[in-house]
Every structure is written in C-alpha cells, then in structure tokens.
C-alpha cells in the first residue's frame, strides 16, 4: 500500500534504554533501603534507657565499610555470595519460564546432602560430588516439573511440599548412615577432611596466604555457571523455547515446541542449580549437615537474589554479591543492635525494587514531556540523552523517524 499519510508520531522520539531505567530504579531502591534502616537505628536507640545518638552513625558507618575492612571480610562476602548466586539462578531460571520455584530450598538440601555422601561415603573428588548434587537437585526439580506438565499442578504447592520431604528424607538418611556422623554425639556430619581431603573445594592454596578458612573456588564456579545460564537464555534455541513457553504456552505448542518437555527440563535445570549451591556450601568444609529439623533457608534466599536482578543471570551475580555483603556487613549491627537490621534493609530494597515500573514510567514521562514538539528541551532531557549516547553503540535506542525509514 502507498504510504500517503504517515502514521503521526511524536517528533524526534527517543526511547530511554531499559538497562538505564533498571539501574536507576535499583539504585534508588538501595538508597531507600539504607536510609530506612538508618532511621530505624535512631528509633531503636531512642527506645533505650540512656540513648546515645552518635551510636547509629558509627554502627552504620561500620556496616557500610565492614566487609571492606580487610581481606578475610571480602573473602567472606564471596563465600556467602557463591551459593546465593546459584540459588538465585535456580529461582530466576524458572521465573524466565514462567515457573515459581519456591523449592530451591529442598533441591539445595538434597544436593548438599548427597554431595556429602559422595565425598564421605564414596570418596568422590569435589567436582564429582558437585555433579552428584546437580543430579539429585535436578531430580528434586523434576518432580514439580512433571506434576506441572502432566497434571497441571501449580508448582508453588509441589515445591513447598517437596521442601519438607527433602528435610525429612535427608534426616532419615543421616540417622541411618552412622559413618557420616560425628561420634559422639553424632547430631551432625563429620568434617569432610577426616574422610576425603579431595572432597573439599580447592582453595588454590590461598588459605594460608589470606588466613581465611572461607576461601574456595565456589564463587568462581557460581560466576561461570551464571555466564553459562546467560548464554543459554539469550543466545540459544533452548533459551528461546523456554522463554516462549514462559510467555505463551499455547503459542509454543502451536510452533511445535514440546511445551511439557520444556517445562520439565526447566525445572530439572533449576533444581540442578540449587543442588550445586548445596554442594558449594557444604563442600567448603565449614558448615556441617545437622539433624536439626528446620528447613535450610539458603534456598529461600535465592528468591530475593533473583528478584533483585529481575532474573537476569548476570544481574544475579551482582545481587548475589550485594546480599552476600549485607550478611557480612550485618555483623556490624551485632552487639550494639541486632543483625536482623540487615533483613530490614534487604526487604525494603526488594520492596522498592518492585517499583521499577513506576520509576521507569516516571523517567520516560519526564523525558518525553520535554519534547512534544515545543522545542524548549529541559536539563533532564539533556542529561538523559547524554547517558543514552553512552548506550547508543550497544543497541539502537534511537527510533528513526518515518522519513528516514522511507528514504
């Protein structure tokens, strides 16, 4: 058809790049979280018999600087971040396929326990044990995937149920595998080192150097996995299929994608990732698996990690490190107040990070307002355009006007 009349468009319309919006709003969220907690400290101080209002300032200062005060602290952050990142990937990966995996906890638990069985009972080296964890975690993810695909049962309920099954299942095993347990009193697994030094995650000989027993290659593994997931998600046909199913199951079937198979596969991978996280945590040789009858929280912590990064695999690395930092820095609150403060910070940040949409719209509005034909552009626009020009290379954020198209 001849284009006699061009669809009228807003002249010189530019789009603000997504990344920029995400960064801005994430940044605002973090500021809000810190601000809130800072206020909270004052309130807490005020509740004391004799208040000392210089305390919050100092504590907060310590908190912000805590993890940078020395090498071991930085290492501790990485140590915390590694499993967080992997659990975040587990949850985020499922999210991309439109599945909500609250079961990372269960998958993490079985993964952890079987990695321990692998090294303690079977004398596997660490990397084989990680494989075992991945498989068992994947198995735990398979069940909800299968139930979803075959019976269309909401994965939220299945994964919640399986968390508990995992807890009691591993406890049962631990109780019935005496060689795994410390004797006496035997309410936790024996230190890995006693059975099979090769089962411990390598520390690349940095333990002595840094004097931190938290150092190991866990973080490296986590980052590598994240990158792999990123590639799978954004560069491969499999990622294409997963996201298609996530967005529109029916259309995917129409296109000949085996939607059920994809869902199951997604859950298996998601579970596998949580499984690896479990192995990373326990093969570090620091914590031990106990008969305590409460769910391990690490898997749940994966949810905020994923959400904070909008499930973007590389973003998850960042948010994992950030939350890892919170946990370490949180010790600054111990003694004076209570490390729960960090969870307040975290929750506030997540709460605000949910507002990205609004923030983005706000920015867009401000941005467009400034060029509805009436030439007088405002500072806001100029700034934004500056920043956009930074992104220009990466992605064509500038929509060519109709004229340019037709030429």
């Amino acid at each position: 058809m001849p284009k006699d009349i061009k669809t009228p468009r807003i002249k010189g319309k530019r789009e603000v790049p997504e990344i920029l919006l995400t960064f801005t709003s994430a940044f605002l969220a973090i500021v809000a979280g810190l601000l809130m907690s800072f206020i909270l400290l004052y309130i807490l101080e005020a509740t004391k018999a004799e208040s000392n209002f210089s305390l919050p300032g100092q504590v907060f200062n310590n908190f912000v600087t805590y993890a940078f005060k020395d090498v071991p602290s930085i290492i501790k952050v990485l140590y915390n971040a590694a499993p967080l990142i992997l659990c975040g990937l587990s949850v985020g990966f499922a999210f991309k396929a439109g599945l909500f995996n609250i079961g990372a906890t269960g998958q993490y638990t079985v993964g952890a326990f079987f990695s321990l069985i692998a090294v303690i009972l079977w004398g596997f080296p660490w990397w084989l044990a990680i494989l075992v964890a991945m498989i068992t975690g994947g198995l735990w993810g398979f069940v909800p995937g299968y139930f979803k695909a075959k019976f269309n049962i909401n994965e939220v309920i299945t994964t919640i149920m399986l968390n508990w099954v995992a807890l009691f299942f591993t406890k049962l095993l631990l109780y019935n595998l005496p060689t795994m347990r410390t004797l006496p009193p035997g309410n936790r697994t024996d230190p890995i080192g006693f059975h099979n030094a090769s089962g411990l995650l390598p520390d690349l000989g940095l333990k002595e150097l840094t004097g931190s027993s938290f150092i190991n290659i866990g973080i490296i593994i986590a980052i590598i996995v994240a990158v792999i997931i990123y590639i799978v998600m954004n560069k491969t046909t499999f990622g294409y299929e997963i996201k298609a199913c996530g967005h529109n199951k029916e259309a995917s079937r129409y296109a000949g994608i085996k939607a059920k198979r994809t869902i199951i596969l997604t859950m298996i991978i998601s579970g596998g990732l949580a499984g690896i996280a479990g192995a990373i945590s326990f093969l570090a040789g620091t914590i031990q698996f106990t008969t305590d009858s409460t769910l391990l929280t690490m898997g749940f912590n994966g949810i905020p990690v994923a959400l904070l990064a909008f499930s973007h695999p590389l973003g998850i690395i960042a948010s994992g490190l950030f939350i890892g930092y919170l946990n370490v820095g949180g010790q600054a609150f111990e003694g004076v107040y209570s490390s729960e403060v960090t969870n307040i910070i975290l929750s506030v940040i997540i709460y605000f990070s949910a507002f990205t949409l609004i923030v983005s719209q706000f920015i867009r509005k401000k941005f467009n307002r400034s060029d509805d034909g009436s030439g007088k552009g405002n500072i806001f626009k100029k700034i934004t355009e500056k920043i956009i020009s930074l992104f220009k290379k990466k992605e064509d954020v500038v929509i060519k006007d109709e004229e340019e198209v037709t030429k």
Binding site: P2, T236, T237, K258
Partner: protein, 518 residues
C-alpha cells in the same frame, strides 16, 4: 443547531510511539446509527474507549446534550447512559449470563444478592428485543453470538441511551448479523442512539444513517449514507480505490495433498465429539473453503489436522504419507503451515518482538541456528525482509514488542510467517478477521497467489463473502459433520446459510458422492 446527544471535539490520544487519535471530532445525533470506519489501527477503538472513559484523552472535550462532561472512568459513562459492546467481549467466563448482566448493578436485599427481579427484567428485555439468551448458562459454555447478545443486554439492563458497538459483526454468522441489524433498528425505535464500528461496508450501507471516517488517527470526514457508495467510502478510508478481488477460473484439479479419512476429534467444552467421522481431500492448486457457524467443529477440525489435538479416530494422509501419529513440528516440516484462528492465543508470543515471532516456526533450522546458538543477524535480516514484503507496520520495526502492534498488523505478521514457510498445504482460519478492506484485499491476493503457485489451501471462515469470493470448492460444516459440498459459482450466501444452521441437509446419497469423488 442540530441536537447532538454526543459531541467529541478535537480529541487527541497518544500511546507510546503513536498518536492513536489526532484532533478527531465526532458528533452523534439523537436517534441515529452512526458508523465509524477506518483501517486497522486507525483509532476507532481508542476513540470509543475515550468516550467510554477507559482512556483519558490528552486534548479535547466531550459534550453530552451540549454540556461538557468529564468522563474519568466507565462509571461516569454508565451514569451518563453510555454503554459499549467491546471488540473483545468483557464477560466473566465462569459467571452465568445473569451474573454478568447484573454485575455492577446488582439488586440486593439487606446485603444478600436478590436475583429474582433482575432475572425477570432480563427475560423481559430479551423477549422485547428478541435477544435469545439462556440466563443461567455459564459464559464459557455459550456461543460467541449469544455472548454478544449478553453484552447488548448488559447495556439495555442499565437503560443506556448511547450504545457503542465495536466491530460486533466480526464474529457473527450472516443470520446472526441480520438479527443484529434488526435489533439495532429496534433499539433506535426505542429512542437509543448507536455508534457502530465495522470494516464491512455493506453492513454500514444497510443500517447506518451517517458515517465518519478515520485514517491513521486523523479525522477524514463525515458523510450521509444515502449520499455515498461503498467504493467512495473505501476510498475515503484507505485513500485509494479498492476493488474486491475475484478468483480466476480454477485450473484442472491437481493431485491430492491432504486426505482426511473419518476424522473424529473430541471436544473441550462438551463430552460428545466436536468432529464426527469427517472425510475430505484437499488438492493442489485449490482453495477449499469451509463455511460454518462458530462452534460447529471447525476449530477442533483444524486442531486435529495441525496436531494441537489428538485424534479420537481416523487417518490423516499428507502427500500419500500417514501423518496421524506425527508431532506438531513433524507435521509442519512435512509441509503444513497454519494461520491460526486466535492470533493472541496461538499465533504470537505477544511479549516477543516481531523478529522473534517471525522465526517461531523456523528458529531451529540451520538458517537461524548453529549448534543451538541463534544467529541473531540472520533473524534480523529475515524479519526486515518480511516486514518490507508484507508491509507490516509497527512502532520500532523488527524490535517492536508484538503486543503493542495493531491486530491488523499482528495478523499480517502471522500470514507473512506462514506463507514464508512455503509449504504445500496452508491452513488459513479466519485469515481476515477484524481487518479492513485494504488489508483483506491484500491477504486474499496473497492466498490466491499461493493457490496459483499450485499450493493447496484449506480456508475456514465465518465470512460468507470471503468463502464465496475466493474458494474453488465449499464445504459446509454443521454439528461436527460436513453437511454439504457446494460450487461457489452455483450457490448463494442464502443457501449456504441454510446449511450452516442445519435447516437444510444434502441427501445422504449426495453425501456419499462427496466422499467418493472428493
């Protein structure tokens, strides 16, 4: 001055990337049926949504009986007596007809719902305007036609005086359309005023008093129906002369591409089968049109062929090969492409951009991937090409999120993708649903091209003119069975309509014949 019941003046409504209404003015006289005409994405739905308070315009004023009103939300519209039948019905599927009608205006006695009077009132209304509905049926169980009657009853129940119909006929059968026309006339008798959106000029000529035309969001003009002709109108809306396409004579029947042998497909909505022992053949170089009222098994028939539904019994033979057991993808690769009935449910991943949607059937081919890694550059090239060839219009070209595209253009994208698959069999279900004459003409051209390229085309449509104009052979489907095979040259809309409602049956013998010579 004339007594206008509604005046919309200089309305401007923007959406990210587009100006849907650009300084549009529309005046509705009391007691008239006023048509709103325009291409897909011209801004009709938007303008009506503004009047109904769903969108707040950036500029412009709305007057009711000469007084400026501020329609901030549908509530206000309801209070002003403005009601709307939306292009996509706004009915709660798991509610009964009655519940849907009273929703928002529920009669209650000390807190508890009292449906008794409401029921009587609805029944009375449905008799008065003969809008047959089953008040206690669930929406998900009733036909589209009845759903529309429910929408109309909703307005009448609220005693609205200004009634907006956004593309009401797109989903109706000829009989139903005639019914609707009658109803609209009754409504006028009762002193209502109607705004009527349609792409079908003959309907407009038949019921409307005046027509306002939009093009690309701009107001083109308003004319009296008696002072104009369909060709004048289509010229106004598209900006050029359009002549409906006719079919060149059928070259001799080629060999069979697809054979259905006693196909039976079960139904989602009810327990007995949706398709019963249907058998027919599709040949090279023909367009086989299947007419029928919505819900007589056409959908399931197509699901059966494409593999979206398992067959209960029967055999499917494609180019001499039994494909009954094959998966959807295998069938596609063997040579089936499929323009689906529901473009949003099956046709597109609305949250993917155009480029990704255009490779939906091909992403796994060597052309677009290499060891599982997608070749982004090829994907972009491919979509730019199709966008150009099929004139798919959208805000940001290849990187437009398809959700934000006009349904018309969404449809073009799907057709482009399916034709591009270049298979021997093309199944086209409602290929022009909700599209404007310009777009329809193009799509019909494309289909005929394919047919002339000796492809076999199976076209399912509710639009009788479409069936009559471009099929070489017509089958009529009623109640899950093929009740007639007709020759478009020798039959008429009237006759087909009768088969469609089951009030006419071809002699059994004739039916065997069909099977035999088909």
């Amino acid at each position: 001055m004339e007594n206008y019941i509604i005046e919309m003046e200089n309305i401007r409504k923007e959406f990210p990337g587009v100006v849907a209404n650009d300084n549009v003015t529309l005046r509705l006289k009391k007691g008239e049926i006023h048509a709103l005409l325009g291409e897909n994405g011209a801004g009709k739905s938007t303008l009506m949504s503004v009047l109904f308070g769903l969108y707040i315009p950036e500029k412009g004023v709305i007057k009711k009986n000469g007084e400026v009103v501020n329609i901030a939300n549908p509530n206000v519209a309801n209070d002003l007596g403005i009601g709307m039948v939306h292009q996509h019905f706004k009915l709660v599927e798991v509610f009964t007809v009655l519940e849907n009608i009273i929703l928002g205006a529920e009669p209650t006695k000390n807190g508890l719902l009292t449906t008794k009077e409401a029921r009587e009132k609805v029944i009375a209304l449905s008799e008065k305007f003969n809008l047959k509905v089953d008040v206690d049926a669930l929406i998900e169980d009733i036909s589209v036609g009845m759903q529309q009657r429910v929408e109309i009853l909703k307005m009448l129940y609220r005693e609205n005086e200004v009634l907006i119909f956004d593309e009401p006929t797109a989903v109706l059968t000829p009989q139903e359309i005639e019914e609707l026309m009658k109803i609209m006339k009754n409504l006028i008798e009762e002193g209502k005023s109607i705004l009527f959106i349609s792409h079908k000029l003959n309907e407009i000529m038949y019921v409307c008093d005046r027509v306002s035309v939009l093009r690309k969001g701009k107001y083109i003009g308003t004319v009296n129906v008696k002072d104009t002709t369909t060709s004048k109108l289509s010229e106004m809306m598209v900006g050029r002369h359009v002549e409906g396409v006719k079919l060149s004579a059928l070259r001799k029947k080629g060999n069979v591409i697809l054979e259905l042998d006693n196909i039976t497909v079960s139904s989602k909505s009810h327990k007995n089968n949706a398709v019963n022992n249907v058998s027919f053949k599709v040949h090279e170089g023909e367009i086989l049109g299947i007419a029928g009222i919505e819900g007589n098994g056409q959908t399931e028939l197509v699901y059966g062929i494409s593999g979206l539904e398992k067959l209960v019994s029967g055999k499917l033979i494609l180019k001499g090969e039994d494909i009954t057991k094959l998966s959807i993808r295998e069938r596609n690769l063997k040579g089936i492409s499929h323009i689906p009935e529901d473009r949003h449910k099956h046709g597109l991943v609305l949250d993917y951009d155009l480029a990704d949607n255009l490779i939906l059937k091909k992403y796994f081919l060597k052309e677009f991937q290499n060891h599982g890694f997608i070749k982004k550059s090829n994907v972009k090239k491919h979509s730019d090409m199709l966008i150009k060839d099929y004139d798919i219009r959208s805000g940001k070209g290849s990187s437009t999120i398809t959700r934000s595209m006009s349904g018309g253009n969404q449809q073009k994208a799907i057709i482009a993708r399916e034709i591009d698959c270049d298979t021997d069999l093309l199944i086209a279900v409602q290929p022009t649903r909700g599209l404007d004459v310009g777009a329809i003409e193009n799509i019909h051209r494309t289909l005929i091209d394919q047919r002339n390229k000796n492809k076999g085309i199976l076209m399912i449509s509710l639009e009788l003119d479409e069936i009559l104009n471009i099929s070489d052979r017509i089958l009529v489907m009623y109640n899950g069975e093929i009740v007639a095979e007709l020759d478009p040259k020798k039959t008429s809309a009237k006759e087909i309509g009768l088969y469609m409602v089951g009030s006419k049956q071809q002699a059994k013998k004739k039916k065997e014949e069909v099977k035999a010579n088909a």
